[in-house]
């Protein structure tokens, strides 16, 4: 078996591992939902630790009774320790397999493995799942795990089935160390934005629950058939009782922000690095190529998010909506622009 084939096989294994991660966390989430719904009266929102900090890589404050409460919550009977264990270990295993697959891909092609959409997706997933593993190390956040591993499994499937191209050397325009710097950093930023996106979704859900507001409520709720059909899915209802097990909206907001500050700095670097590379390769640093526009739009949207956070009336929930727009732009910039629009970035190798 050649290195390239072995690489593909490892990617399939990693996809399988991440699918198990996804299932394990979904099970955990379902278990929590079920049990906290059943025991709802016992767990009034007030009993939820407030001010709990979510540690990114072990920075959580320690001698804080609230944080102590968090750890107890981790061991609460709501959770399925087995599922969480499986989720964590397959996550790490998958990252290891995928890293090996990516490295072999680089060996097979004889270059840095970030030259086409297939490779881009692999590296992006490895970063997202890596960040997930770090975020989950201290404190289990099954919801974030489900969103991130869900997106990752889908992306890997898409990569293997649609984006796949043979491992080979690249065309002259890509022969530059900027392939490592610019593309590498863009991928890492995308991975970080993915986790940040999941965190912002959780933040909004949790906030709705805290403030006891649901879009499915209201005077139209009984008339509007769509709302009636979805009435079991009210964020304030039993199905979302598990939300009381997650950190409060404010802690999630600050996790969202921290991830996005890292992502934004990386994205800024991507933008500048791309411009420098374009100056070398195409003879201009900026030309409003569709990919450049997409990157710029995402950058401006995330800048808007950073401003919204400090604008009265826009912080919290509304700022999180801007994150969703930003993430949608990042995804569209990768998929639609590479595959549908023709520009100078048509490097998918799928032409």
């Amino acid at each position: 078996m050649s290195a390239a084939d072995l690489s593909t096989l490892l990617v399939w294994f990693a996809t399988t591992a991440f699918t198990i991660t996804l299932l394990a966390w979904t099970l955990d989430l379902a278990r929590i939902a079920e049990r906290s719904a059943a025991r709802r009266p016992a767990v009034a929102p007030a009993a939820v630790p407030v001010g709990a900090a979510v540690g990114l890589g072990g920075t959580s404050p320690t001698d804080d009774p609230a944080a102590g409460g968090d750890r107890r919550a981790d061991r609460s009977p709501f959770r399925s320790a087995r599922a969480e264990g499986i989720g964590r270990s397959t996550n790490v295993l998958g990252v290891a397999l995928l890293l090996a697959g990516i490295a072999l891909r680089g060996v097979a092609a004889g270059r840095w493995p970030t030259a086409n959409m297939y490779e881009f997706t692999l590296v992006g997933v490895v970063v997202a799942m890596g960040v997930l593993a770090v975020v989950q190390r201290r404190r289990a956040l099954p919801f974030i795990a489900v969103v991130v591993s869900g997106i990752s499994v889908l992306s890997l499937a898409l990569a293997l089935l649609v984006f796949y191209v043979q491992a080979e050397a690249v065309q002259p325009a890509l022969q530059s160390y900027w392939l490592v710097l610019h593309v590498g950093v863009a991928i890492i930023a995308t991975g970080v934005f993915t986790v940040g996106f999941a965190s912002s979704v959780l933040q909004v859900l949790r906030e709705s629950r805290e403030t006891d507001r649901s879009h499915l409520d209201g005077s139209w709720g009984r008339v509007d058939p769509l709302r009636r059909a979805l009435s079991g899915w009210k964020v304030t209802g039993r199905r979302f009782a598990w939300l009381e097990q997650v950190p409060d909206a404010r802690s999630l907001e600050s996790l969202t922000f921290r991830l996005h500050s890292i992502g934004f700095v990386l994205w800024t670097f991507t933008l500048i690095g791309g411009a420098i590379w374009a100056e070398h390769a195409w003879g201009r640093y900026w030309g409003w190529d569709p990919k450049e526009v997409g990157t710029f739009v995402a950058w401006v949207v995330y800048a808007a998010y950073l401003h919204a956070r400090t604008t009265r009336g826009w912080s919290g929930r509304r700022a999180a909506y801007i994150v969703w727009v930003g993430y949608a732009v990042v995804l569209a910039n990768f998929t639609v622009i590479n595959l549908v629009v023709t520009g100078k970035h048509s490097y998918s190798g799928l032409g």
């Binding site: 001698d63 009774p65 002259p172 640093y285 030309g287 739009v297």
Partner: protein, 562 residues
Amino acid sequence: MNATRRPEGLDDAFLDGPTQAAPPAIGVVGWLRWAWRQLTSMRVALLLLMLLAVAAVPGTMVPQRAQSPEKVTAFLQTHTTAGPWLDRLGFFSVYTSVWFSAIYLLLFISLVGCIVPRVRLHAGALRGRPPRTPARFGRFPAQGTGASPDAPQTVVERAAAVLRAPHRIPFVRSYRVDVHDEGAGTWSVSAERGYLRETGNLVFHLALVGLLVAIATGQLLHYRGQVLVVTGHGFANAQAQYDTFESGSAFDPASLVPFTLGLDSFESVFDPQTLAARDFTANVTLTEPGGAGQASTIKVNHPLTAGGALVYLQGNGYAPDLQVTDAAGEVAFSGPVPFLPQDSVYTSRGVVKVPDVSGGQAQIGISGFLLPSAVQMGETTWRSVSPQPDDPLLVLAVWSGDLGLDTGVPQNVYTLDTAGLVQSVTAAGAPVTVYLRPGDTVELPDGLGAITFKDLPRYVALDLRYDPATGWVLTFALVALAGLAASLFAPRRRLWLRAGPATDRDQGPTVVTAAGLARGDDLGLDDELDRVLAATLGRAPTGPDDPPAGTSDEVSSQEARG
């Protein structure tokens, strides 16, 4: 929900951005002031940012003149109703349109109006002292207590030394520190760090302004020319020598440095299996004014510097060297004709226009394909199997009549306007196809003359660009990046520590209380307070994995709730 957590009633909290604008005063000046305040408010900045993002999108959906004029023409032909309207509204040149420019100019005016007052305030803050120790610590997000056998003054001075000492980053003082004697044996220390955070933010925003100015300057002064050069030939840096040339409005044509550049040879490497391009090298000789010729190379990603401009290798192909003689036997055309590659095996399309025929003969137009490595697939079908010239073949159709060159309308040299031409056909009515290999001379149909395929040199497409501002653009971009990182990652904190004589119920002669406040979210604040307390009281700091210290009476801190 307010993202900058701060205990209410804390009047010396960090300054925030401009707050709510007051309702408008009467009169023009009042309205202007109100408008200005609105424009420089964070809310309007936010809206302008979102508007900018939205406004940039149509440029990816509708073809743009600057990038692909031919697609714009095609679009206008297919969308006869919407097209002209989109054109009028500037949708084919979004990024230079009035509305796009208005948005970003307003944004930058807003930015300057927002940042300049902040710079002034911050300059004051940089010279200021840390705020005095608040009377009560009850409301602060981070708090700690402890006891010490030492006198209050000793404890406070030790704390001041701990706070001043570099931490994490060597040689950089971490806190600005003031020690206060509060009377009655009580001492306190106030400390502040993280001016870098605001500095970074201001530097970032100002660098964006610098970036815009640098880009605009470059636009004014730049020039860009494109030229095709066949091996063995060259060009001089003069406006007339370029196939296309455009420049900024402040560009002075006399400033073109008259160097000459000759193409000696061109090498290309293709993957033997996939035939994908791997490497292109143009070997050139550059002669700067007053200098001797210097051999050099141009590769993709590695432009050549010539006369202050950069020369990029943008494309390459084959330019069959052809000679056409007319019916009278006169040479009517001679020279290399660039053919444009259409695919990865360099199947190339090209056109020869022969207007200068002798006598009253009809003008000749020839169009067709070059196959660098021709393989016969069927009776009349040929295909190229490799981009390298292993077995070149020209497959041509012949037209005669009026080439339409005298109408005054500029023509594309790569297409034949067949309006005034008729194609040569055989007796059976099928189009005549002329096949040529290097060295061949073939009679043209209808007695039009003959064509000779003399040689197959290569050509390169060079793109020459001069922009004196790129260095500044890069500098401002990097400064912005550094400022951004500082403003997002440098923690801004205030810490206070007070030591006073114990009342009877406390243990130890001196009780110590401490509080901390941070700007924005600051996960490290509690750890920092613990570190300072521990170092001051001579205790090892609690590690992150230790159990909660809530029960310990030596050092404890607590995050305020709500």
